[in-house]
């Protein structure tokens, strides 16, 4: 009777995709790697599009181990940043149209990252998903893994610790 009608699907998508773009698009290094982030509901999948400059061992050839580490780290940071804004976003306390390059959600900073290389990264697209294992007021612990052809056979995984930003958003100051 008094129940509110559900939001139109386009409104929901625009809000969520707008917030995700604000998190991802402003970071030059994400463009340098050729990374994209896809969203299904609140689940994010990072995509590393293959490019020749990502190669670290031309003889195999295999992706550079540093690129793999960077791909995992970026995925973990975006996942954590996304988790931090999700509630505010859905409660409409955060307006994605107010987010821009200079006024973006403040991203967590990496304290440390421990990468486990399981097999060589092949010269093709790679995918990654992260899971926030522990999220406190001061720091968070995140697990992240990446795969290529087969979701059940990751080629690398990592655990990292990240400082939580002190305020929700960073203003232009």
């Amino acid at each position: 009777m008094t129940r509110k009608p559900p939001e139109p699907v386009q409104v929901v998508k625009q809000r969520r995709d707008g917030a995700l773009r604000a998190l991802v698009d402003g970071i030059p290094y994400i463009r340098f790697l050729g990374m994209e982030v896809e969203r299904r509901g609140d689940e994010l999948t990072a995509l590393l599009r293959y490019a020749d400059h990502l190669i670290g061992d031309p003889r195999l050839p295999a992706l550079h181990g540093g690129v793999t580490a960077a791909f995992l780290e970026v995925t973990a940071i975006i996942e954590l940043g996304w988790t931090m804004i999700w509630e505010d976003l859905e409660a409409k306390r955060l307006d994605p149209s107010s987010l821009s390059l200079q006024h973006m959600p403040r991203l967590p900073r990496t304290i440390d990252l421990s990468v486990d290389y399981l097999r060589p990264g092949l010269p093709r697209d790679a995918y990654a998903r992260a899971r926030v294992i522990r999220s406190g007021r001061r720091y968070a612990s995140v697990f992240v893994e990446c795969w290529q052809d087969n979701r059940a056979r990751p080629f690398a995984q990592a655990t990292g610790h990240f400082t939580m930003p002190t305020e929700g958003h960073r203003g232009p100051q």
């Binding site: 030059p28 290094y29 340098f32 400059h53 061992d57 550079h64 181990g65 690129v67 990468v115 486990d116």
Partner: protein, 147 residues
């Protein structure tokens, strides 16, 4: 010492030919038995925080990983190609925007097929590293391993 020179020259050629090393503009400063030093110039494409201009940790990881692999490839009991098994990185402080980052890696022990490394990365302020790393690598055994 002299007999390691061809190995180091080969390792230097191998690392200089890595596409991602070229993409990052990494310069090999020095390679010596079990040691390497490399510099990555400041580049706006590598920024992780557009507000401060600080280089993304991922680019620093790649510099540390590359420099560590080179230190392994230069170890008298190892030889290239190398592969990283495990790399742990501590991000101690943000690098100063505008400054190049220099990595120094040391391969301090090798077994028959594994190598252990430690590495640091500095900007112009050499009193405190930007980042440090410890790692484990595999390598293809060099000629001097045979007994």
């Amino acid at each position: 010492m002299a007999e390691t020179e061809p190995q180091i020259a080969a390792a230097r050629r191998m690392f200089a030919a890595i596409p991602q090393v070229a993409a990052l503009g990494i310069v090999i400063d020095e390679m010596a038995p079990g040691k390497a030093r490399m510099t990555m110039p400041y580049d706006a494409r590598l920024v992780g925080d557009p507000v401060t201009g600080v280089i993304h940790g991922g680019a620093v990881s790649t510099l540390l990983d590359t420099c560590s692999g080179a230190a392994v490839a230069c170890h008298p009991q190892a030889a290239g190609p190398t592969a990283t098994i495990d790399l742990r990185i501590n991000y101690i402080r943000p690098a100063d925007p505008g400054q190049a980052i220099t990595a120094r890696a040391e391969c301090y022990h090798v077994t028959r097929s594994f190598a252990f490394i430690r590495a640091t990365a500095h900007d112009d302020d050499t009193s405190l590293p930007v980042a440090e790393a410890v790692g484990t690598f595999t390598f293809e055994a060099g000629p001097r391993v045979a007994t």
